[in-house]
């Protein structure tokens, strides 16, 4: 087992034994340590509360020398997540110039969850949603909830 594999399995171990709040982490394929599935329950006191979001996390072969990629598989109304099927997330810790091999997946997942608690409209992927978040919070919350109802219902 290469040092990268060892590292990944250690991290997977860590994430499954003490996952970030509201998250369940599984491997879609037992043989592939590089693809993780994450189920995230929307944090309470946010428009996303009670929503169940599926995310994918893929670890490049160069990991930990290259950042993992995290995507929302479930559509979400959020300034920092592309409003499409790709569900790209803008997370500063994942940017190449910020990524460090000392960063860990658990930290990334925690940052994703934090993004739902505290959207960052100053560095948006969806400018329109960011504008709405800043100028018309009520409308934003409404849209976010409707997305949850439409795409992220528990048990769906």
């Amino acid at each position: 087992m290469s040092s990268a594999q060892k590292r990944i399995s250690k991290e997977f171990q860590e994430c499954t034994t003490s996952p970030p709040p509201g998250m369940t982490i599984t491997l879609p394929s037992e043989t592939d340590l590089h693809k993780w599935s994450i189920q995230l329950t929307g944090p309470p006191n946010t428009p996303y509360a009670n929503g169940v979001f599926n995310l994918t996390l893929s670890l490049p072969t160069e990991y930990p020398f290259k950042a993992p990629a995290v995507n929302f598989a479930t559509r979400i109304w959020h300034p920092n997540v592309t409003n499409d099927a790709t569900g790209n997330i803008c997370l500063s810790v994942l940017k190449p110039e910020n990524w460090k091999p000392a960063s860990r997946v658990k930290g990334v997942l925690e940052a994703v969850r934090q993004l739902l608690v505290e959207p960052n409209p100053d560095d948006p992927l969806e400018a329109r949603i960011a504008d709405e978040f800043r100028t018309d919070r009520a409308e934003f919350d409404k849209n976010a909830r409707s997305y949850v109802a439409q795409y992220a219902k528990a048990g769906k």
Binding site: S2, S3, A4, K6, R7, K10, E11, T61, E62, P64, F65, K66, P96, E97, N98, W99, K100, P101, A102, R104
Partner: protein, 637 residues
Amino acid sequence: MFQPQPTPFAQFGYHGLDVADTDFTDYTAFQSTPLGQFGGGHALDARAGAGAGAGIGVGSGRLGAVAGAGVGVRAGARPGVNAAAGARGGPTAADVFGSPAFHNGHQLPANYHSINSIPGPQHRHQQGQPHHRTYNHRLQSQSHNHNHNHNNHNNHLLHDRGHGRSQRRHRRHHTMEQDEMAQQEAAAWDYQPQLQGPLVGDKTSSQAITEEYAKADPTYVAKTMALPETYSHYRPIQGDGNCGWRAIAFAYFETLAQCGDVNQVSGERARLKSLDVFIQNDIGEQTWELMVDMVEETDVLFDDVITAMEAGQNPMAIITAKFNDAATSPSLIYHQRLLATAWLRANAAEYRDRIEGGIESYISSNIMVINMEIEYIGVVILCDILLKPAGMVLEIAYLDRSEGTEVNVYRMPNEAVGQGASTLGPFIYLLYRPGHYDLLYRDSQLQATPVPTGPISLQVNRATFAHHHDIQSTVASNYSTLDLSVLGMIPGGFEPSGLSPLTCPTAPSPVSDSYAHSPQSPWVTQNFPDNLPLPPSQQPTPPQQQATTPVTVHPLRFSKYNFPLLPEMAENNSSYEPAYTTNTFKNSHFNVAHYNNTNFQPEMYRPDGDEEMPSGKVGGRKRSTEHCAFIKKESRG
């Protein structure tokens, strides 16, 4: 007959050690690095010569240089060669340096740089200042742009101009309009680091660099034309943002592999392993847990290298493969970053003034990030924690548009600045082009073989004196094979008995260590006194001849025609030569190592014929002549 006894040679060796102890504290420790295999006998000679030379030459570099060059001629080796040895080594260096001529000839330029431009501690101190200033300047500009791109290169260049070899240089550069310079550099900048191909390339002729720049502006043309004269080969390193780290880490392993001493490699392995705790304390238990497998790759590589060496194989293939393997290479490099980080935090006081914006932010944005190129301060740190304790010296050749016809050379650690190359441990040569590092090599390292090569001048002497043949053939048959195979592998094996009672057997000193790795030395010391005086009726003993009529009595040696400065050198010779030439001359006669070198060929002096030498060597000689001329001028002025 071969019972070891203290002899003048041993004293001479001790003398060198003594000097080293007083002047280069840090280096005595790391001199214990056995470089013997950088040409075997060569290393011994270099050490001893340098040490002894230091006794005479330290504090009066120029005198020593001139004197050394003079001896070089008289001892009969090729001029370029002994000029190199003598440049720093002083009188005795010349015949002690009866070591592989090819090797030393190419070391000349660096020696001369040090002597001429960086004479002493005072200068050294001043030299440091501009770096800091320009460094900060650069850091500032770079802080606006975290990505590794060509904008940075320009700043980088501006900053690195400061590494010029003379202080005069520094002043001139720093009075120039920096903006203007930056523009010039930007305009001139056309080198694109290699992003394809292997991470660590094959060693190739440095003529390739010359060709690459053939159509560049005149400064680059001149500098790259001169480059192969000093550095015969280079190894391209992929410029993916890790090249500096990669180059240094690779060269570190390569140097260890070349030393051929398993014990030293094991020692380095243990040292790096012990630094794990250092890193662990620095990054914390949790992060360490994530890093440990990564760091482990270095230890695995050490293990592979040691296994190969113990099996008598060349570990270079393993090292190159590991550094090119995408699975292991980043780990090896990141280990360096972790070491640098821990070292920087632990020695924050030392570096604080040189890092603008704070150490923590520097670590976080420059060192711990992947694909962020090493900066000058990083090179210093890596040198301090990785190379210096291993006894290695780093020399960086700066290929930029600064004035001059040769690359500027800067050496670190500071303790090594101004010292003769022969007194120092193995060298790692980096070629710096703004934003990119490659590795450079000199002949001496290129030709390194486990079997020591023999001095050329010695062979010539043997041809002259028949009785020496007898002595040597006996010795060779009885001892050389034994010595070469066994002694070379056992550092310090012969010290207590064979060498000098003055060196400490338990703590190998530079000198004693080189003895241990030079098979011929143990018996040289006692043999010569017995045998040399025997046939005085046939010929006067060589040392006396040398002092008086070198050319006529040794017809096969090189004459003044090979070395235009001979007449002047000769005038100086009488004052210093006799005391040392005896020992060293004796030493050289018994150096039978060249018998074992398949490439060995006696060289004949033919004043009228064109010498048959590789063109690279001719370049080397020309160069040394120039340098001698320069020295002459200096000594007069």
